[in-house]
Amino acid sequence: MITVIDYGAGNIGSVIRACEELGAAVAVTGNPSAVKQAEKIIFPGVGAAPSAMENLMRNRLDIALKEAVKNGVPVLGICLGAQIILERSEEGNQTCLGLLPGTTVRFRVPDTAYKIPHIGWNEVKVVQHHPLLEGIKPGDEFYFVHSYYPRPADEANIYAISDHGQEFCAALGKANLFAAQFHPEKSGRLGLELLRRFLDWDGTV
């Protein structure tokens, strides 16, 4: 059973549909107790860090998620869910969950040829082996849509990178926590394969 956390941060329909396409049973919840009891969690999110954090805290989902991570539950963060797991976001100078050291920062691109938001298909380069990134080959692209990106302070937490006028972290995590800045649920076959690996993942690296 996959538990998708619904905390009012954008449309989670695509994530649910992708899980269902893969044959997974999906429970959608905004209830912290349900999150604490989850066996596997997807933490999605689209939108802005400040309102997302506000929603999480108001519903005590921040505490529930932190507890789940501490207890070794496999967690997949997506997009905003890859940004607010760090300590702080430049977006609104917002304090975030602090599950990993580092800051989420805005793109600073060298010239106007690089558009913001970063929208479209970009190469995800694996820099550190991870079971969820197994099978990704050089040149493989996933769908991104964002103006900020996570910048983990500890290199050991960086699993994959991409490039948009500057190199940036595309996937990060530690132990049973894995997060992607890109959207696996919108990245066609490659994305579904990553989600399939998550469904099979026991949370160990």
């Binding site: 954008g10 449309n11 329909g13 106007t112 558009k115 919108k186 490659l190």
Partner: protein
């Protein structure tokens, strides 16, 4: 590095695929969900469904259609055509559309752009512009003006100015559709595309006029577009998505190959 995107546009009426001639007569030509699935498997990067339904009742069918597409394809897709309110946009987004394309309604009331982008996000708000060439005048200094209502009604708005306004108000992407080029198969309106792409910092999608792979190449290089929107050349099977991508890759344009 970001790849250039190929986006296929399908005209839909009452849930059926309509022959893609937005500015002329239309006829129904098949099942759009099936077609979407076909393009998805062929490696298209995104899809746009343009709803040309006339009546309000038939527009409800659109929501069901969007939901069905979202169940079957796992790439972003956008919906446009007659979106007039935040409620319209939110409904489509909730049904599964990644983005909505707004056009005439935004021209009539520009605050709509901000309202929609606040509700569903800038990244989901695409401003589509139908543009035609005119002799430059004081109010249209660029020589390109905005037309609405299926390309029939000029509104005295300079296209470059409108593009910048759209960006400032919260549009996340722009579709530059040249009325002059549309349907000609002689290529995109490159000067126009480049003019706008060079003056905004949001992604720009070239639209109107594609007849052969060379045209996409030109729009994505000389035209400075981030994506190329195609309709006829895909629907009439003149070129497959694979062929277009092979051509572009062969000429050094970065495109998504593993799909």
């Amino acid at each position: 590095m970001l790849s250039k995107r190929i986006i296929v546009c399908l005209d839909v009426r009452a849930g059926k695929l309509a022959k893609s001639v937005r500015f002329a007569n239309t006829q129904d030509i098949g099942d759009p969900v099936e077609k979407a699935r076909y393009y998805y498997e062929e490696g298209v990067d995104e899809l746009v469904f343009y709803d040309i339904t006339a009546s309000r009742e038939e527009r409800e069918i659109l929501i069901d259609f969007v939901a069905e597409v979202a169940r079957q394809i796992f790439i972003p897709f956008s919906v446009g055509g007659g979106i007039r309110s935040v409620a319209d946009a939110a409904k489509l987004r909730n049904a599964g559309a990644e983005k909505v394309n707004i056009n005439s309604a935004a021209v009539r009331r520009k605050e709509l752009i901000t309202e929609i982008s606040k509700a569903i996000g800038t990244q989901s708000t695409v401003l589509s512009m139908d543009i035609r060439r005119v002799t430059p005048v004081e109010t249209i200094p660029s020589g390109y003006e905005i037309v609405i209502n299926g390309g029939t009604e000029p509104v005295g708005l300079d296209a470059l100015q409108w593009a910048k306004t759209g960006e400032a108000l919260g549009a996340g992407e722009l579709v530059i559709n040249s009325i002059d080029a549309d349907g000609t198969k002689d290529g995109y309106e490159l000067l126009l595309t480049r003019l706008i792409a060079d003056n905004v910092s949001i992604p720009v999608i070239a639209s109107g006029g594609a007849g052969k792979p060379e045209h996409l190449y030109a729009a994505l290089t000389e035209g400075h577009a981030d994506a190329a929107l195609i309709a006829s050349i895909a629907h009439f099977g003149t070129f497959t998505i694979r062929q277009l991508k092979d051509y572009l890759a062969g000429r050094g344009v970065r495109v998504r190959r593993n799909f």
